[in-house]
């Protein structure tokens, strides 16, 4: 065993040293990097709830579109049906303004029709509709975490 190993060949000891040395160094660097990046991802958010009460159905006149500022949504009432449209442009997040025929984004000019569909401009998707339900105390309950199709209404 001893006599056959020339100097230049890697000894078992050298092999283990190099292997574990590099493994340890790689692990140390990778672990530090992962821990640092993970540190920057918050685990708790202090953000407003995506679920909110919009008010009593009768607060909204028939055939009306109401902009709700704090929530950045439009509450659309037609007869006794209720829907809720996002006012956040799907392009880069500006608040769209209501026009006679639909919605217009001031930042880069995306134009949406009254169903939220993109008519022109850089917006890649239509404005989403959010789920509207009725709470137990008879208030409109909007869930901004759940989108629905444009033809889904809450009938009161």
């Amino acid at each position: 065993m001893n006599e056959a190993t020339p100097n230049k060949d890697l000894s078992r000891r050298g092999f283990l040293e190099i292997t574990f040395g590099w493994l340890a160094a790689t692990f140390a660097v990778a672990a530090s990097a992962i821990a640092s990046v993970r540190f920057l991802v918050p685990n708790v958010l202090y953000e407003p709830s995506l679920l909110f009460k919009a008010g009593k159905p009768d607060d909204f006149p028939e055939k009306s579109v109401t902009f709700m500022e704090d929530e950045r949504v439009f509450l659309v009432r037609q007869g006794n049906t209720f829907r809720c449209l996002s006012a956040v442009c799907t392009h880069l997040g500006c608040t769209v303004n209501r026009t006679e025929k639909g919605y217009h984004c001031p930042c880069h000019g995306s134009l949406f029709d009254d169903q939220g569909k993109v008519e022109s401009g850089p917006a890649p998707h239509p404005l989403p509709w959010f789920l509207v339900t009725l709470s137990k105390d008879n208030r409109l309950l909007v869930d901004k975490s759940q989108t629905v199709l444009a033809d889904k209404y809450l009938v009161v």
Binding site: E47, T99, P106, C107, G109
Partner: protein, 428 residues
């Protein structure tokens, strides 16, 4: 004939015990002392003792890199002062801006200087980049210094972006909203990247403190370090590029072959092109006073211009951030309006793909364009192809910026600047 009084007083101080303990070499009187003054002083030693006449020619470099460095230093100085008042809180940030404007002594001046120096820095780093391109100064052995320079250009933009968010005015709020939304279009990592940048899903306190930490520490520290390496490489790569470069002189010393009966100083083992190689000593002058005085003069000019701007023009401050309504039109500062014009066609193509390709092309440029012709001359004929491509890209960037700045009105609609803006058509 005796020297003027200030000089005599200075010399008296310099020869005193205290003076000699501070300055290793006094005001130089001989060529030897001129060299020693450069080599033995901490602030001067990063520069050579002698410098090529060509490098001093203002019409070659226009001092653009140095101007950028001076602006950076002015920004650090005024920025540190602003930090004594500014509070990175969504509730108080805007009030501290108003305090700086109306209450703090010289607060308005410092804020104005900071803002205008930042605008100028973006401009001059860009001009410096163009100068290095048009004189072919990124070619071997300076490829990596070009890469560092591109990095510094991007850092300059990042510093500007994180900076104008801090006042928490309308510009700040909607710039974060739009900027982080552009990031979310990046393939695969986009939405996560936005979450990481904002520290959440909505633009608020968490986002402000993140951009503040980046702006006042992380980015300036990285930029400062990279500036140091950038300047170091200018020296090590043979000083400023000039037309009579010796070509590829790479002295590689094999330590094993050195004669053992000689003692070598470390200098003699240095690798690569040094300032001295292949140069006529007649082309060189002593850095003290020729280089040092020019540098001081340039600093005075830069400072004077920044002060002039800061005294006569106030830095913009829009209304307090309103998360409900963006201003109409919501415009970024001039250096991002080309990008804003591009994203108004498509956020993915204009905000991610085109800028990504441009940056990649800039980074790879010295490794693609490898012919060592036309180094050290403006617009060398041999480099027609490269110069044409670069110029077309540059003109396109300028065109988009001009359109975004002057030809876009409410709702980012087309509007000739000579026509009066119509009253806001769409109510809030």
């Amino acid at each position: 004939m005796s020297a003027p009084l200030p000089k005599r007083l200075w010399q008296k101080f310099e020869r005193s015990r205290v003076g000699r303990s501070i300055f290793r070499v006094g005001l130089p009187e001989s060529n030897l002392e001129r060299s020693q003054a450069m080599v033995s002083s901490f602030l001067l030693h990063m520069q050579p003792a002698k410098v090529n006449r060509h490098s001093l020619r203002a019409s070659y470099s226009f001092g653009l890199g140095l101007i950028s460095l001076y602006l950076f230093l002015i920004l650090v100085g005024t920025g540190v002062l602003l930090m004594f008042y500014y509070v990175p809180s969504t509730e108080r940030a805007y009030d501290t801006m108003k305090d700086l404007e109306f209450v703090v002594s010289a607060g308005l001046l410092m804020r104005n200087m900071h803002r205008w120096a930042a605008h100028l820095m973006v401009l001059f780093v860009l001009l410096h980049l163009c100068r290095v391109f048009y004189t072919g100064a990124y070619k071997r052995p300076r490829e990596f210094n070009w890469v560092l320079g591109v990095g510094l250009f991007l850092l300059t933009l990042a510093l500007s972006f994180t900076g104008y968010l801090l006042p928490w005015d309308q510009l700040a709020f909607w710039a974060i909203t739009v900027g982080t939304s552009i990031a979310s279009y990046a393939p695969y990592i986009g939405p996560k990247l936005r979450y990481l940048m904002l520290g959440g899903n909505v633009v608020g306190q968490e986002a402000l403190i993140r951009f503040y930490a980046l702006h006042v520490f992380v980015l300036p520290a990285v930029a400062g370090l990279m500036v140091a390496i950038h300047l170091w490489r200018v020296r090590k790569d043979g000083g400023l590029s000039h037309p009579n470069e010796p070509g590829d002189v790479v002295e590689q010393v094999d330590l094993g072959q050195l004669p053992t009966n000689k003692t070598y100083g470390l200098m003699e083992l240095a690798r690569g092109t040094t300032l001295q190689v292949g140069q006529n000593p007649d082309d060189e002058v002593f850095s003290w006073p020729h280089l040092v005085f020019r540098e001081l003069l340039l600093f005075l000019i830069v400072m004077a211009v920044v002060l002039f701007l800061a005294i006569f023009w106030n830095a913009p401050l829009e209304e307090f951030a309103n998360p409900i309504h963006p201003p109409n039109p919501a415009k970024a500062p001039w250096y991002f309006l080309g990008l804003q014009e591009l994203v108004s066609y498509s956020a993915f193509w204009g905000g991610v793909v085109v800028p990504g390709l441009l940056v990649t092309a800039l980074l790879l440029l010295p490794y693609i364009d490898r012919k060592r012709q036309g180094v050290g001359r403006w617009f060398a004929r041999e480099r027609r192809v490269a110069i044409t491509i670069f110029t077309v890209c540059l003109l396109a960037a300028i065109a988009f910026t001009v359109i975004g700045t002057y030809f876009r009105g409410p709702n980012w609609g087309w509007q000739e600047p000579w026509k009066r803006p119509p009253p806001a058509a769409e109510g809030h």
